[in-house]
Symmetry: C2
Subunit: 245 residues, 2 copies
């Protein structure tokens, strides 16, 4: 499955107007929310880099190993983009990322791949649902921040590589499909549980979607549609892998 | 300790003349030896990248974590230089690297750091002795290959960062020094044992130093001095860390 086949992003409600980039200077709550968004994304890319590079060591061939290392390297470039934007905004990147350390550490420690295929699926399915979510949020931020978020959420070539390798493995031994489908469900469950934790702890970040004082957000109906889109895209990724969602 | 304080490299014996770069085309045994050298170095950088990126997750702070990730990224750039040279020579990089997969996998599985400090020392002491060894070999190859080897063996900033962090940890709790000194000895023992294995299995690579038909190499006395230099530099690195070698 490629990005072109994915569900289109939803549009915010009719009465929603995206903040002007100047709000980063004039609205302290909005500024705090964007710092949180860039911080959680930057730390996510940093840990994705570490995990992808580490999982490369599980590759069956040196060719696959260097292909995965190349993807890890692209994740590091995304980390740098986000870190540099934080610095440009006058923010200490370490301070912006640190609040999200525990959530990511728990996600990764609960989803340690036991083999090469589980690592590939984690890179595709786990990162996929994360990137979908951040692109949904990007509808609610100023144009400059949105452009950066869209850049770091682009597909890094994981999709085609992972789909090819996982389908070949299932063709070779159809019995692995059951175990890998369970693994996909576990990844989503852990991702949702950490997302809820972050939303509960970081009011500013949540306010980007649900709105704040003087700033409208998504209503309950739109929140429902957003969750439906995330679920639908996840199901499409699992289907592309030849797995039941 | 910085590179400036390290022991100077030895000069090959008086009767030694480095091969001309044209030997890469005209001398199949020399060409095979250089492919082995670039292959072992490339795979070494690839696995160093994977391990450094993975060890970054052990960092006590997000700042140290991103500093180590930055070093991993530099190792990946070195990997790319070597891979690109192999491609330029008309060699499949995967084929050139694969013979060294087992040795590196065994080295890494025998030297899994149990914490942040062990990971740092592995990056500095383990990579340090490896880089010293490759720079010694580089005296025996043509100028074009030598320049590439010297580039990928440069200090990536590991030294200053590691020395600072390890000395601070020993200051804070002097009891860790004993455990870390043992760890340093284990790293060197494992590195030597894998180096012997590679030397035994890859005749072409060994012939770069010991010489081959029509190509003089190091005599026994020079081999002894080379080992003395490697040991001396290792001892200096351990001393810089505040550890007994």
């Amino acid at each position: 499955m490629t990005a072109e086949q994915e569900m289109p992003l939803g549009e915010p409600a009719d009465d929603f107007t995206a903040p002007d980039p100047s709000a980063l200077e004039t609205d302290p709550v909005y500024r705090e929310a964007v710092i949180d968004l860039l911080g959680v994304l930057a730390y996510g890319e940093l840990t994705a880099f570490e995990r992808t590079a580490s999982d490369a060591a599980l590759a069956p061939t040196v060719g696959d190993e260097s292909a995965l290392a190349e993807m890890a390297n692209a994740e590091f470039r995304h980390f740098r983009h986000l870190r540099d934007r934080l610095i440009q905004m006058g923010v200490d990147p370490e301070a912006a990322m640190t609040p999200f350390k525990t959530s990511y550490a728990e996600f990764h420690s609960h989803t340690m791949p036991s083999d090469w295929l589980e690592g590939l699926i984690k890179a595709y399915v786990g990162d996929g649902i994360g990137m979908d979510f951040y692109r949904e949020i990007s509808r609610y931020v100023d144009a400059s921040t949105r452009e950066l978020v869209e850049t770091v959420c682009e597909d890094l070539g994981h999709s085609a590589f992972v789909v090819d390798r996982v389908r070949a493995a299932i063709d070779a031994d159809p019995r692995v499909a059951g175990r890998l489908a369970l693994w996909g469900r576990r990844l989503v469950g852990e991702a949702l549980s950490q997302a809820q934790r972050v939303a509960a702890e970081r009011d500013a970040l949540s306010s980007l979607i649900v709105g704040g004082v003087d700033r409208p957000g998504a209503d309950l109906a739109e929140m429902g549609r957003m969750l439906a889109r995330l679920t639908e895209n996840h199901t499409r990724r699992m289907t592309a892998l030849g797995l039941a969602a």
